[in-house]
Amino acid sequence: MIEVQHLTKRYGPVMAVDDISFTVERGEILGFLGPNGAGKTTTMRVLTGYMPPTEGKAIVAGYDVMEQPIEAKRRTGYLPETPPLYPEMTVREYLSFVAKIKRVPRGERKARVEEMMRKTHVDDVANRHCGKLSKGYRQRVGLAQALMHNPDVLILDEPTAGLDPKQIIETRQLIRGLAGDHTIILSTHILPEVSQTCQRVVIINRGKVVAVDTPDNLTSRLRGSETMYLQVDAGGADAAAVLERVSGVTRVVATDTKLQVVGYEVDSEAGRDVRRELAAAVVSRGWGLLEMRPMRMSLEEIFLHVTTEETAAPAAPVDTDTERTGELVS
């Protein structure tokens, strides 16, 4: 549905986007992740036909954005970082204008505007001036604008920026609900957003794609190995040695001790599931197996890992089920 081939964009001497390529399948939600200034907005602007690339090409919904811009734009909805609202227009007037220039047929316009206002929950401010809206409403009016002509492709530049937690959840639900009918690219620097809404992630840094994969695969791929956390009761000193002898295990580290209960981090070869063997080894010796769970690198750490220049020591693994709400500031 979206094909980006060797896209390069230079602003004078500054290389904003450097030879990036990726594709997005129909109905997919692709997360576009990167620190500020990585080239996310530039890439999106090229995809929407706002600016031409220096080199390479972008095909959206089957149309080259440079060769057939009007056809491509008819099938693309775009929510820029700042919603493009006219402060002196009311929400309804604004959306009617959008419907006109997005070529919604005259007879359907009115109904379409009302439908979009309901869908994005802005119908209660329909007669208010856009300039007087709160950030949350602006963002949603912007989303209604992007959806107005029922585009095949939706390009959303930080759609949840500046919203309160409840609105963020609502917006994410709305976006997830749109997948299937629409192909979506969504940029963000909020990492949980990616794991919660996107099926695939493109991480870009300094204009280059540094990783493309599903959030899950990225997590395990970057580890290079699987890590389990075990809590063993009454294992004594030789428990670590016993665990290390289990086939496939590469490393065992005791991490915490509470009375007799010792916690271990057990690394194993990538792609190999050693849970059964570990459990059998512990239980057959009569020790108590209190806890066993996989540990993964959080997206934050992956992100830092792939976007940080110096090869720092691998970040400590963190439990996958811990709630993370931090916003990454780069």
Binding site: Y78, P80, K100
Partner: protein
């Protein structure tokens, strides 16, 4: 065409939902009204003097009242039209709404022509107010309809040139004030460019005279419709709009 009208309509509406339209129309009407009153007093005095001489000659309302009135109106335009055009592109660029226009299935030319027509509509409304004075003239005097009609045609065409140049300047900057000031300076320059004409050589003289936007207006106030002036006004308008299109396109490349 629908896109052009949609954008023209939006432009016109935004003039009227901000104070701009009211201020521009109000002050234009005020100034025009003052000029009308002043010209009328002068004209009255002149015609009484002519009558008092008993020469039987009547003062010419077309040449002594309407013509100077239109010439003065063209001066007001120098000040008023930059106010209309200065925000057209600058404001869209500043607030980011240009992203909506440039990513919608609308061509650059449609956007530019739409904006041009929107500004022209406001300008026409502004001129429309002055029809009141003309009605008064026709009610109590006997002006020549052709002179009045040509005067308005001339004003519209000249204003169109100013607006297309104003659009161009507005498309070059994000800052309304810069846009307004530069526009005003350029208008003024186009107005006075032939003042030095008589001190230069014959070639430069004719070029400078030809360039002066207001010089071409003179014939209209005499009730003359000369294709020479039509060609001039329409070429300036299309050239201005063409350059605006180039400027918008360049902005795209620069980002």
């Amino acid at each position: 065409m629908n896109n052009i009208l949609a954008i023209a309509h939006k432009e016109l509406k935004s003039y009227f939902s901000t104070p701009i339209a009211y201020v521009v129309i109000g002050f234009f009407a005020l100034l025009f009204g003052y000029f009308f009153y002043a010209m009328l007093i002068i004209f009255n005095q002149q015609s009484q003097q002519l009558g008092g001489l008993g020469g039987g000659g009547n003062a010419d309302i077309n040449q002594q009242l309407i013509r100077p009135l239109f010439l003065n109106a063209s001066v007001i335009l120098l000040f008023v039209l930059p106010l209309i055009t200065m925000r057209t592109y600058s404001e869209e660029k500043r607030s980011g709404t240009i992203e909506l226009l440039l990513t919608s299935p609308v061509t650059d030319v449609e956007i530019i022509v739409g904006k041009f027509l929107g500004a022209m509509a406001l300008y026409a409304a502004m001129l429309g107010i002055t029809l009141i004075h003309m009605v008064l003239l026709f009610a109590w005097g006997n002006p020549e309809p052709k002179v009045v009609l040509m005067g308005y045609v001339g004003l519209l065409l000249m204003g169109g040139c100013f607006i297309s140049v104003g659009l161009l300047i507005s498309s070059l900057t994000k800052n309304q004030i810069v846009s307004g000031m530069v526009t005003f300076a350029v208008f003024l320059l186009l107005w006075v460019i032939n003042w030095i004409a008589s001190f230069t050589g014959p070639t430069t003289q004719s070029v400078l005279n030809y360039l002066s936007i207001t010089d071409h207006f003179d014939d209209f106030t005499k009730g003359i419709l000369d294709t020479k002036h039509l060609v001039y006004y329409f070429s300036v308008m299309s050239f201005g709009l063409f350059l605006t299109a180039r400027s918008v396109d360049t902005e795209r490349w620069k980002g």
